[in-house]
C-alpha cells in the first residue's frame, strides 16, 4: 500500500536542506512506520533528488516522523536551477513510497 493512505506530510526548506514530515492519520500506525520507514529507505526512494545524508527524527506524541535531507535543493533555494527550487513537491513523492504490510486499523 502507498504511504499516502496512512500518512500525510509537508515539505520545508532551509538553504540546501529539506525537511519532509510524515504524519500518521491514525496514531496506531506510528510504530509500524517507525519500523518500516527508515532513513535508508527514504534516501533510496528519493535518490533523484537527495545528494547528501538523510536523518530521521521521531515525534511519538503526535505520531509523526521528520526527515531531514541534506544537499537536496540544487545548492540552495536562492541559487538553484531547479523549477521547484524550494523542493515543495518532494512530500508528494515521499508519500508515494510503498509500505509493505497493511497494519491492523
Amino acid at each position: 500500500m502507498k504511504l499516502r493512505e496512512l500518512a500525510h506530510g509537508r515539505t520545508g526548506d532551509k538553504g540546501d536542506t529539506l525537511n519532509v514530515s510524515v504524519i500518521c492519520f491514525d496514531a496506531r500506525v506510528y510504530p509500524h512506520l517507525v519500523r518500516h520507514l527508515t532513513a535508508e529507505r527514504v534516501k533510496a526512494h528519493l535518490q533523484g533528488i537527495v545528494r547528501g545524508s538523510v536523518r530521521r527524527y521521531e515525534l511519538p506524541r503526535i505520531g509523526a516522523l521528520n526527515f531531514v535531507l541534506e544537499h537536496a535543493l540544487g545548492g540552495g533555494v536562492t541559487r538553484s536551477l531547479a523549477l521547484d527550487a524550494h523542493g515543495k513537491s518532494v512530500s508528494a513523492a515521499l508519500l508515494d513510497i510503498d509500505i509493505d504490510i497493511a497494519p491492523p486499523a
Binding site: R4, H8, G9, R10, G12, D13, K14, G15, D16, T17, N19, S21, I23, F25, L46, G48, I49, Y57, L59, R61, I62, A64, N66, V68, G74, G76, V77, T78, R79, L81, A82, L83, D84, S89, V90, A93
Partner: protein, 453 residues
C-alpha cells in the same frame, strides 16, 4: 506592566504568511476575530536583499511593496477596535515604512496612532569588518566582499516588547525571527521573563504555528479525496487564543473558509523544522518533542507542551550576495511522439550551447511533466505524456551569456524538431543567501517612535 489574571486569554491573529499574501483574510480577521494583536509576516530569506537594492536606488523605499495596500485595507478597522499590529514589513527600511504608515494614517484620518520602527538588524558593516565563515559552505565571507548586498541578523522579541511597552499601536521591523513577531506580544501581555525558557519555548510553538497564516487553516493542505478542505477559495487566516502558560487554541473566524484540525496543526508544527528538540531561536532553544495537539471540536485545536532551554550566544545572520545570472528557455511539444521530439530538442540545444561556446557554469535540461521535479525516477521512465515542456536553465557569470541560453531554445522554432510551440525565455540575476553566526553582543537593536509630527 499590565496586571495578569491566570484566566486571561490573548487573541492573536496572523494577517499574512508572506509578502505577496492575500489581504482579504486579514481584513476579515480584524473585523470579526475579536483580536488583541495582528501580526503580518512578510519577509522571506531573500526578500530583504531585494529591498536593500531598492533602498539604494531610493532612500525613501526598501519596505514591503504591499505595505500601502495592506494599511489602507486594515488600519481603519484595527484603529477602531484597538488591535495592535506587529509586522516585519519594514524590510530593509523600517524607519521609512513607519513614516509611510504615519502618512497613510493621517490620510485615513486615524488620529493618535503610535507607530514604532525596530532597527539594528542591518549588520552589513559588522559582517564586512569581521572574520567570519559561512555556516553552509565553510567559505570565508571575505572572499565574497565585493558581491555582498545585505547582511541582516535575526533579532529576537525584546525590541518589539520595548515598543509595545512604549505604547506603540503599529510596530514595523526589519529582520526578526518569524516566531518572535508573535512571541513579543505574549511576553508583553503576560509579563513573561526573558529567561522563562519553558514559556518562551511554548510561545515559540505558538509563533511557529501562526507565522505562515493560511498554512494552518487548510492552505497548502488540500488533497481531494484524501484531505478535503471546505471553501478553500475563501480560506481564512488563523487566530491563536493564548493563555498565560503559553498553551494555545488555534481557530479561525467561524464563517471563513478552510479548516483547523489536528492534521493541519501537525503539518505546520513540523514545517521547516530540522531537529525538533533544538529549534534555534534568538530568545530560546525551543523543544517541540513533547508538544501535544488535541481537537476540541468545532474548528478549535489545543496545542501545548512546548518547552525550551537557554538561548545560545550567537544570532543567525543572513548574508546575501550577487551570484551571477540564470538564463532559461522553455518550449512545448505535444501529441504522439512528443517526448521523443522534446528529447531530440534537448540534445540539439545542449550541442549548440557547446558549439557556440556559451560560458555555462551549470546546466540543467529537463522535461516538465516527466523529470523536472524528481529527476530520473521509474515513473519518469515509464510515462508517455501527451504533452511535455522542455526546459533548459543555466548559470552564467554575465547577463549577456545568460541571454544566449533562452535564445538557443527559441531557435528551436525554425531549427529544431517538428511542432514545438510556446517559447518563453528569461534571465534573472541571482541573489544567493548564506548565513553566519554573529556573537550576540555585536548586534544592537533599537526602537524609534515615529512621531505624530
Amino acid at each position: 506592566m499590565s496586571t495578569v489574571t491566570p484566566s486571561r486569554t490573548i487573541r492573536i491573529g496572523a494577517g499574512a504568511g508572506y509578502s505577496g499574501d492575500r489581504i482579504e483574510p486579514a481584513v476579515e480577521l480584524v473585523e470579526h476575530g475579536s483580536l488583541d494583536y495582528l501580526v503580518f509576516e512578510c519577509l522571506a530569506e531573500r526578500t530583504i536583499a531585494l529591498a536593500q537594492q531598492t533602498r539604494r536606488r531610493d532612500a525613501s523605499l526598501g519596505y514591503d511593496p504591499l505595505l500601502e495596500a495592506r494599511w489602507r485595507a486594515v488600519l481603519p478597522h484595527a484603529a477602531k477596535r484597538a488591535v495592535r499590529i506587529v509586522t516585519n514589513m519594514g524590510a530593509a527600511n523600517p524607519i521609512a515604512a513607519a513614516r509611510k504608515t504615519a502618512e497613510i494614517a493621517r490620510e485615513l484620518r486615524i488620529d493618535g496612532l503610535k507607530i514604532a520602527a525596530v532597527t539594528g538588524d542591518d549588520v552589513l558593516d559588522v559582517v564586512l569588518a569581521g572574520d567570519y565563515r559561512f555556516e553552509e559552505s565553510g567559505e570565508p565571507v571575505a572572499a565574497f566582499k565585493d558581491r555582498i548586498v545585505a547582511a541582516n541578523a535575526y533579532l529576537g522579541a525584546q525590541p518589539i516588547v520595548d515598543a509595545l511597552r512604549a505604547g506603540a499601536d503599529v510596530i514595523l521591523t526589519g529582520r526578526v525571527a518569524d516566531p518572535a513577531l508573535f512571541l513579543a506580544p505574549l511576553i508583553h501581555a503576560f509579563g513573561w521573563s526573558m529567561d522563562d525558557w519553558q514559556r518562551l519555548g511554548q510561545g515559540t510553538v505558538v509563533g511557529h504555528l501562526l507565522e505562515c497564516a493560511g498554512q494552518i487553516t487548510g492552505g497548502y493542505f488540500a488533497d481531494p479525496g484524501v484531505k478535503d478542505v471546505p471553501n478553500l477559495a475563501r480560506l481564512g487566516f488563523p487566530i491563536g487564543e493564548v493563555r498565560e502558560d503559553g498553551s494555545v487554541v488555534v481557530t479561525k473566524v467561524p464563517h471563513a473558509g478552510g479548516c483547523v484540525s489536528e492534521a493541519t496543526c501537525k503539518e505546520q508544527l513540523l514545517y521547516e523544522i530540522h531537529d525538533p528538540q533544538r529549534y534555534l531561536q534568538p530568545d530560546v532553544v525551543a523543544d517541540f518533542t513533547e508538544v501535544s495537539v488535541t481537537q476540541l471540536g468545532g474548528e478549535r485545536v489545543a496545542v501545548s507542551g512546548g518547552r525550551g532551554g537557554p538561548r545560545t550566544g550567537t544570532l543567525k545572520t543572513s548574508v546575501a550576495y550577487l551570484d551571477g545570472f540564470i538564463g532559461e528557455g522553455q518550449i512545448s511539444y505535444g501529441g504522439s511522439g512528443a517526448q521523443a521530439r522534446a528529447r531530440l530538442a534537448l540534445d540539439v540545444v545542449r550541442e549548440r550551447l557547446a558549439m557556440t561556446g556559451v560560458a555555462v557554469r551549470e546546466l540543467r535540461c529537463e522535461l516538465i511533466g516527466v523529470d523536472s521535479l524528481y529527476g530520473q525516477t521509474d515513473a519518469a521512465r515509464e510515462t508517455q505524456p501527451y504533452e511535455v515542456r522542455l526546459r533548459v536553465a543555466a548559470r552564467c557569470d554575465s547577463f549577456d551569456e545568460a541571454m544566449r541560453v533562452g535564445n538557443e531554445v527559441e531557435t528551436l522554432y525554425t531549427n529544431g524538431p517538428a511542432g514545438g510551440g510556446g517559447v518563453t525565455k528569461s534571465v534573472r540575476e541571482v541573489i544567493a543567501v548564506q548565513s553566519v553566526l554573529l556573537p550576540r553582543e555585536m548586534v544592537t537593536p533599537s526602537v524609534e517612535i515615529v512621531g505624530e509630527d
